[in-house]
Symmetry: C2
Subunit: 661 residues, 2 copies
């Protein structure tokens, strides 16, 4: 069955999230964790098919990125001490805005609340204007579809002024960009309180999304569960550079769980508290962000939603090759463009629908101040467009902050072909005066001064000149410290350098595996037009949880014996398979199989006993062919692992019209 | 190089933990986490070779157990709510004993402290008796070797009474089995305090080893990081059984991180706070613990250290086949024996030294009260014998406690060939009386009564008969509840049943991947007798981090071009390789390679340019052969993935004596 045929079937039987969820639940792809104990929202367990699917996607990722690009994989701990995440900015900034109802104790996530209340008012306005019949029915349907527990229980048909409608729409378009203070102002201005009681809420407070814990007995060390895998990679930069024979550029990569204590998780697998990430940190020369393999991908054509288009209020993407996108400067540099294309190619390998994929550039106010450029691969689902992969140029931020904090250099040293003249601020300490003045604190003061950046040195040099002294504070030392030019001199000096030293920039492609998995569930799901109760998950064979269903036609011992022999061949070839020797009809077994997304069925009948031939069935088209066990296994191997098409892979096998479904 | 040759080399150059650690550090197999920030003890990051080694071992485990035995893999969350771990017993029992020095605030793990102090007194006694020269030097050496920070700083040469020596030795032999109270008594009796100051310590207090956190905003839900992966598997039992078409026995499996907040971690990778586990839960009929594939492994011969041998004070293992061990009842049942043998075969596949492996049975006081039998696969390292795999028959404990707590049945139903008569206690409620009496609490009271176990019903029936009433308490309902026989009747009834219902028993093989990895590091490590500075890690090719080092003889562009072509072949064949085109000598590159445990070197020289042949070098023997790229790749593939020997795999290639090391 061709891609077009499946698209046609999808149009005949429209997508229903309820049907998909029922299949995913019935086949135990995943389920809420701790259901026996009432569950904990935002936590999910993967059952056998979900777990195998996840493992295959991780395996494909490892081959596509780590092996193909020779990246350095590391596995760092999830427990992370406070100081590391303080430096990275997570302790101060990794938070959402929540507001509490002082009477009921209920907690709302501020941006979600504002969004929902304004949306419901707009719906009420539509009803009052006679543009929709029953906004409540509409909203309920919407809530069902999104599986959210709506805060707004009832929509009132109240007409709004035209300019208010326009204001609401503008706010909703920018809802992701507001600060807590701004959200608080909106809530006051538009009288947004507890949607049920109307009660005024406390102003939004930052709620840090990291899970906190204590490491060691008596809670000596405050720690968190990591919110991303990136920090472990940054902290190991010097070891990785050395492992790479001190050559740059190079990339590290990490696959592992991260954590985010969502205020009120919803949207199933898309917003969870514990999730699998795969992250790459590509360390590159800030002056040279070209990529040696750029030519290989420059003609890949993608749908882009750049900043300008979004600012104009449009969501119509631009189609362009990556080559053009980089040369027109829409994408900041070649390396970033290279990874965007590689992300696209990976997503194609694992079954993402290309018509439901776009690359959206971050708006200036979405991006961290240090980022040079950032693009998200967004996948379209019934929940809307979902950010599944981020690809950011983080500049030198991460290495710089850790290096400043720990006073440990994190740089690449490059021998220069020609020596160069470099002018720098340099500080000199009259060390013999430090001991008598500072005693046990002397090393701390010296380390502080020697760790000053160029900018800081320039400013301190000015102080020394203007005021005759420099003044500063050091954590852990009481009072301010004053030093005059007997203690320090700060001067600009020009030196000849043979080695260039630079802090590399980081290009960071970061994958949310759970979100990608759920999107592929939606993209792969369809129902057979001839029998809409028969659902299919059309996973690519490479990532399908199981590759082959082995079906003896009946429970006759002769057939079981052959099935065991065929099973041995699959086991030897390391092709994951399942035997289904349950008594039910072949049709029922195939149907179960289609719901599990198993691409191939191998049927054993009485002819198999005689001549060692078996039937091979393809899941999507239900086409069947026949051949020897060896030829069938070979076809399966070629199609599954080497990307051969069905027609090409089975051309030596005979068409078969025997059993009906 | 044969196994015997390596053993000989190991005898020539004795194992040195310092050399091993220096290699592991230099090659970034692993490193303390957050070293830049001063580190956090008990947390380690895996660098590229360690990470690849771990991934390969996990992959081998998945194939050996999950695929080969058709297990149901699940991936459950690490965050676990309090109630689940309260039921499992971890909240109350998963703890070590710690005692605090009230003056200094220092915290000691009680059993370790008693052990260390008594050991040092015994050493002092030995010195006093003139049996060792300098117990301090000896102890320091010991501390270095074990990389522990010794609490006992100085050993005093004091002779002890003979009977005291005997008492100390008896205590040390049983040190793992003492309760907190008993440890406290030992500390008083033998005057064990802070070893430095002599200060008396607080009596041992239980310190729970789980990391605690709060889930959701405002800390509504108390949770922990899981201490094992098992609970997620138990909680999903009903879903897994249904997935398995309601057939038992079956096994689930899970690979993932678990956490243990050690009081004072030591011994490097062997005792850490965050670690990778692989666990199997095999659910089996309590009346039928035979195993269909037992015949396949019954002749496997292993070294056993059963309970009786240990009780006799011996550590001399018994050699026996698994078949004999089961039929003599040394091992409780066939399924347990089957898994013990499978564990052994797995450990052999991934490079454990069979002479450094034994299976030790748990002593009665080590085992949980519910366990039927338990064996540990212990690996010998320079830290002593280390428990690396546990294999326990946990009876029906886990499913029973969760089922009792949640009132959810967790049973297997089996259609009986012949119906049977079953006599059971049954309770009947006069429901119409419950509403008026208990109002909103009525459903709670009914659920409580209907959830009573057979034992409880029997006892309540007696109360009802003797006292005319039953009396009980329910959490959340104030005061005691009294009911007479107008409300409830409890009677024994005999019924004909066509279906047998049973709670399966659990056989649980549980692997500590990090401990296995470290043990294999030790087992695989040796130095070349001809140059002891040249160390080798002789990993089996299957699990070696990288399979092939690709070495162009020089930086000549012709050689680089061929190297790129050869690289393409390896990439296509999905054989992990690294190119080393650094300028250093071939010998140096091979040496680096040997430290990384890469089994094969492929050298490209000027003949390669002419005739497309390359040299293939074997790591352990340094033997070299020559052939076409295709033949060499084929040999590597056969040896690495199909277990072919070097001699067999390279028989079509020509011996080569060209470059010297």
């Amino acid at each position: 069955m061709s891609v077009e045929d499946i698209q046609k079937a999808k149009q005949t039987v429209p997508f229903s999230r309820e049907s998909l969820e029922s299949v995913l639940k019935r086949r135990f792809f995943f389920a809420p964790s701790f259901e026996l104990y009432g569950g904990v929202s935002g936590l999910y367990d993967y059952g056998p098919p979900g777990c195998a699917f996840q493992a295959n996607i991780v395996d494909a990722w490892r081959k596509h990125f780590i092996l193909e690009e020779d990246m350095l994989e590391v596995d760092c701990t999830m427990l992370t001490p406070h100081d590391v995440l303080k430096t990275s900015g997570h302790v101060d900034k990794f938070s959402d805005w929540m507001c509490r109802d002082m009477k009921t104790g209920e907690i709302f996530r501020a941006d979600h609340l504002v969004e929902e209340v304004l949306e419901s008012r707009l719906k009420g306005d539509q009803e009052a204007r006679g543009l929709v019949k029953d906004a409540n029915a509409d909203a309920k349907d919407d809530a069902d579809k999104k599986k959210r527990k709506k805060k707004v229980k009832e929509i009132k048909a109240v007409k709004l002024d035209d300019n208010v409608v326009q204001e609401y729409e503008e706010i909703l378009a920018k809802i992701d960009g507001y600060s807590g203070e701004e959200l608080g102002e909106l809530m006051v201005k538009y009288n947004i309180g507890n949607p049920v009681t109307g009660e005024t809420l406390e102003p939004p407070r930052a709620f840090n999304l990291m899970f906190e814990t204590a490491i060691g007995p008596s809670g000596q060390i405050k720690g968190y569960l990591r919110p991303e895998t990136a920090q472990g990679q940054f902290l190991n930069f010097n070891k990785l550079l050395e492992f790479n024979n001190n050559k740059a550029p190079f990339a590290s990569a990490s696959i592992g769980k991260s954590f985010r204590n969502e205020i009120s998780p919803r949207s199933g697998l898309l917003r969870v508290r514990e999730f699998l990430m795969a992250e790459i940190e590509h360390f590159v020369d800030p002056l040279e962000k070209s990529h040696p393999r750029f030519a290989e991908i420059k003609d890949v054509k993608l749908k882009f939603l750049p900043r300008e288009v979004q600012q104009s209020g449009s969501t119509e993407p631009i189609e362009s090759t990556v080559g053009d996108a980089v040369s027109s400067k829409m994408i900041d540099n070649e390396t970033l463009g290279y990874f965007i294309a590689r992300i696209y190619l990976f997503l194609m390998t694992i079954g993402v629908d290309p018509t439901k994929l776009r690359f959206r550039q971050h708006m200036a106010n979405e991006m961290a101040h240090y980022a040079a450029d950032c693009w998200d691969a967004e996948l379209k689902t019934s929940y809307g467009w979902i950010e599944c992969v981020g690809c950011a140029d983080r500049s030198a931020y991460d290495l710089t902050v850790h290096s400043n904090k720990t006073k440990e250099k994190m740089v690449v040293r490059q021998k220069l072909d020609e020596p160069i003249q470099v002018t720098k601020w340099e500080i000199e300490l009259t060390k013999k005066l430090f001991g008598p003045k500072f005693r046990k604190d002397a090393p701390k003061v010296e380390a502080y001064l020697l760790g000053l950046t160029q900018e800081e040195l320039e400013s301190k040099a000015k102080d020394l000149k203007d005021a005759g002294k420099i003044v500063f504070f050091i954590e852990g030392i009481e009072g301010q410290i004053e030093l005059d030019d007997k203690f320090v001199t700060i001067e600009q000096k020009t030196r000849t350098e043979h080695v260039r030293e630079f802090v590399p920039n980081v290009i960071e492609p970061s994958f949310g595996i759970g979100r990608i998995i759920y999107s592929i569930f939606e993209h792969s799901f369809w129902s057979r037009p001839e029998d809409t109760a028969r659902a299919v998950l059309s996973f690519p064979p490479l990532v399908a949880p199981t590759k082959v269903l082995l079906v003896p036609l009946s429970n006759h011992p002769d057939l079981s014996a052959v099935a065991q022999e065929v099973a041995k061949v699959f086991r030897k070839e390391k092709i994951p398979f399942k035997i289904d020797d349950s008594g039910v009809s072949i049709g029922k077994r195939y149907a179960r199989n289609d719901e599990l997304g198993t691409p191939f069925g191998v049927t054993i009948d009485f002819d198999s006993v005689k001549d060692n031939t078996v039937t091979l069935r393809e899941r999507d088209s239900t086409k069947q062919v026949r051949g020897s066990v060896e030829d069938v296994v070979k076809a399966i191997r070629e199609i599954t692992y080497n990307g051969t098409t069905w027609d090409e892979g089975t051309k030596s096998l005979k068409p078969f019209v025997g059993q009906t479904e």
